[in-house]
Amino acid sequence: MKALARIKDKVVEMRTCHEVGRFLQIYLDGELDQSRIATVAGHLEHCRRCGMEADAYERIKASLARIAQQGLVHPEDELSIERLRRFADTLQA
C-alpha cells in the first residue's frame, strides 16, 4: 500500500511539473492569472527540478536586461541612436 501511495504521489508530482512547466514563463513574466499563481509558486518551493528551471529563466532574463543596458546585441545602436537624436534636434531647430 505504501509503495502504491508513493507511485501515486510521484504521478501527481509529475503532472504538476508538467502543468507548472506550461505556465512557468507566464508566471515569471508576472502575467499568470491569480487562480494559478499559488499552485506554481508552491510547487517551485519544493520541486528542485522546476526551481532550477525557474532560476535558469530568471538568469537569462537578468542577462537580457544587462544586455539591454549595455547594448551588447547591437553595439552599433549607440551611433545610430545618436544620429537619430541629432536628426530629431534638427526638426526642432
Binding site: 532560476d55 537569462i60 544586455i67 551588447l72 547591437h74 552599433e76 541612436i81 537619430l84 536628426f87
Partner: protein, 185 residues
Amino acid sequence: MEHATAPDERRRRQAFDRYVVPELGVLLHVARTMTPTDQDAEDLVQDTLLRAYQGIVAFDGAHPRAWLFTIMRNTQVNRTRRKRPELLDDAADAETVVQEDGGLSPEAAAEAHVFDEAVADAVHQLPVRMAQVIELVDIDGLTCGEAAEALEIPVGTVMSRLHRARRKIRDRLRREGFAPRGGML
C-alpha cells in the same frame, strides 16, 4: 514681437521630447523588423520622426508607442510603394558583437560578462522571428501587446515565440556548458 505660432511650436517640441525622443531605440529596433538593412531601418526611423513631428500637435498623448508604430507602418508602406523593391523578405540577421561588462563586483562581473556574451550569442543564433520578439520584449522592454502591435501579429503569437525563443536560449546555454547537470542553469 513674438510670432503667433510660437506657443504651438513650443508645445510641439515639448510633446516631441516627451513622447517621441525617449522611444528612439525602440523605434530603431522595430524598424529593423520591417526593413532589409540597418541603413534602411535608420532611414525609416528618420521618416517616422519627421511625420511624428508634423502630426504631434493632434496627438492626445495616449499610447505613444502604438501611435508611433502606426506612423512607422504607414511610412514604410509608402516607402515600399515608392521604391518598389524586391518582394517581402525577412530582415537580415543583425550582427552580434559583444562588449565589456561592468557594475558588479569584479568576480561577479567577470562571470556575468561571460554569461551575457553567451546569451547575446544565443539571441543572435535564434531564427529571425524569435530574435525579434526577444529584442522587443526582453531587451527593449515592450509589453507583449506592444510587440504584437509593432509586428502586426496576435499577442498569443508573440508570447509563443517569446517562450520558444527563451527555451532555445536556455537549451543552447546548457549545451555550451553553462548548464552542468544539476548545476546552476
